[in-house]
Symmetry: C2
Subunit: 331 residues, 2 copies
């Protein structure tokens, strides 16, 4: 097995976030599931956009956000995801490449347009997401660069991408390619509703030993294991994956590896502005530590630092210099 030239390659939805603050009453009036992610069609996207206040556009997508954090910390990264040949596709591609991440998936011509996620942010900083998957759901298995996957230390996959059929097939092929080359597979469960739809697949993959590093939050852990109690959930899962990482919002995070449990408190934040990307950036910090060979406790700390940065401003891409932030907190 040769030394990999990329540290983390990810497959994910290629999404531009459209975000605006809103009052709690609007979430209710629009019939949205507070704090959740709902897939929507073009008509519903128009309805929701019409109801949204003045917004800003910032590149998003769960795995892409994680890579943006990883690259900012100094990891070498590559992304695979499908944009359309349109202005939002150019925005997404620009932002990911400008972050120093390799991105070679060709844009897809014609309809549907590039995916967008309409994010309503309530005064408590909670985000409620409605995703129009657009071109993103047509990532063809043929677009996979299997040589690039085999040449990366970790393959990182987002559960969100398990919904659409073509990307699901692509991810299964990617897992086989990574495992065939002796690489690690990291998987984030993304959302409790995704687990409602695809939990059987995820449990089967875990049972088959296809996942080396599993990321979840406490709600997803409960959805996957059936245990509402946090520690019962950890106990049910911890021996089934080599590395289990579970975040629990302001209560910090836990990692279980080789029979040992590690905990980290949440980093203090002056003001929670927008929680979009908190889990994505926690994963970024953790994975950066992991591929750098740091002890698990330090990986957790890195995750907490990155998550704290992202929730202190709008958008799921880092604004502060993460490297400098980490250096300051570890000195």
């Amino acid at each position: 097995m040769s030394k990999p030239s990329t540290q983390v390659i990810a497959i994910g939805n290629a999404i531009v976030d459209v975000m605006a603050p809103c009052e709690d009453a609007l979430i209710e009036r629009l019939g949205l599931v507070r704090g959740g992610m709902t897939l929507i069609d073009a008509q519903r996207a128009h309805e929701l956009y019409d109801a949204m206040g003045p917004a800003r556009e910032i590149s998003g997508g769960s795995a892409a956000n994680t890579l943006a954090g990883l690259a900012a910390l100094g990891s070498t990264c590559a992304f695979i995801g499908q944009v359309a040949d349109d202005q939002l596709g150019e925005v997404f591609a620009h932002d990911i490449r400008a972050g120093g991440i390799s991105f070679a998936t060709p844009a897809r011509a014609g309809d549907p347009p590039t995916a967008r996620c309409l994010i309503f942010v309530t005064p408590d900083g909670q985000r409620t997401m409605s995703t129009f998957l657009g071109a993103s759901q047509f990532l063809p298995p043929a677009a996979l660069d299997e040589a690039a996957i085999a040449d990366a230390e970790v393959l990182y996959l987002e559960g969100y991408l398990w919904d659409p059929e073509e990307p699901r097939a692509a991810m299964r092929r990617a897992i086989a390619a990574a495992r065939g080359a002796g690489r690690k597979v990291a998987f984030t469960l993304s959302d409790a509703f995704v687990i409602d739809r695809h939990g059987d697949d995820f449990r089967a993959m875990i049972a088959a030993g296809e996942i080396d590093i599993l990321f979840a939050n406490h709600i997803e852990l409960a959805a996957l294991t059936g245990h509402d109690d946090f520690h019962a959930g950890i106990d049910a899962l911890k021996d089934k994956v080599p590395m289990l990482v579970v975040t629990r919002s302001e209560q910090g995070a836990v990692a279980a590896a080789q029979g040992a449990l590690h905990e980290v408190p949440a980093e203090p934040v002056a003001q929670v502005v927008d929680t979009t990307g908190a889990g994505d950036l926690f994963a970024a910090g953790f994975l950066h530590g992991h591929v750098s060979g740091y002890p698990v406790a330090e990986c957790l700390k890195l995750g907490a630092i990155c998550a704290a940065e992202i929730i202190s401003h709008y958008g799921a891409r880092p604004e502060a210099d993460l490297k400098a932030l980490v250096k300051a907190r570890f000195s």
Copy 2:
């Protein structure tokens, strides 16, 4: 003369800002004029975008920013400007309408695309702008709603729009329509380089009494009057327009009206993040006071409060609740 149903109608460039932080060295390496606004073609726009870091997109356009502030403060507003029938055009139209501003100019089919302004923000918060005018420069005089202009208390125009030929003709017609209906014309000089190109036009309009309220910053005042000394510039211009409003960054602002001079200091700001839109939002606060019938000193104070809000975050559209901010500062 009937009571106008709109307080401020503006004609301006319909632009989406694409903004990213950058180091000072990049400004130099790209050959940009620090703090200025340069018009660029599509090829240069590609070059500059390629050199830009991960960015965010926020609706902009000088006069449109001013209206966003005015509407947030409670003034009734309408906007006239040209977008293309594309994704960035949809973004611009959504944001202006979601702010409560009437916007009825039909999108323009085909090339060129909607205007964008590439904004590099240096660590001191200074913005350096490169504008690809795209569809914005094709605002046809026929798109003017002269009845709407005649029905607005103030017609607000941006000097930036004097560069392209069709909008210039449209603005001249708009001025005639407003004056014919006995309305006021407000004009912002926008940029010293615009004055280099069109100073003779601006001076002729002032001499002809076509401008009732003139907005400038201290650099534009010098460019228009030929006086580098601030007070000499004010003296040279103050009797030629009924209301002269000149901002001078951290030194606050001055208004000259009916032989009297009024001053306001700049509002304190915890951290200057991005000065994009400072002048636009100063004009918003001032005009809101003006159409509300406030004394000049209070109009200046409103301007200073709005300018301070806008420079405390990225983007030229207000994020805080301006009404609440003003109420808190005046109580």
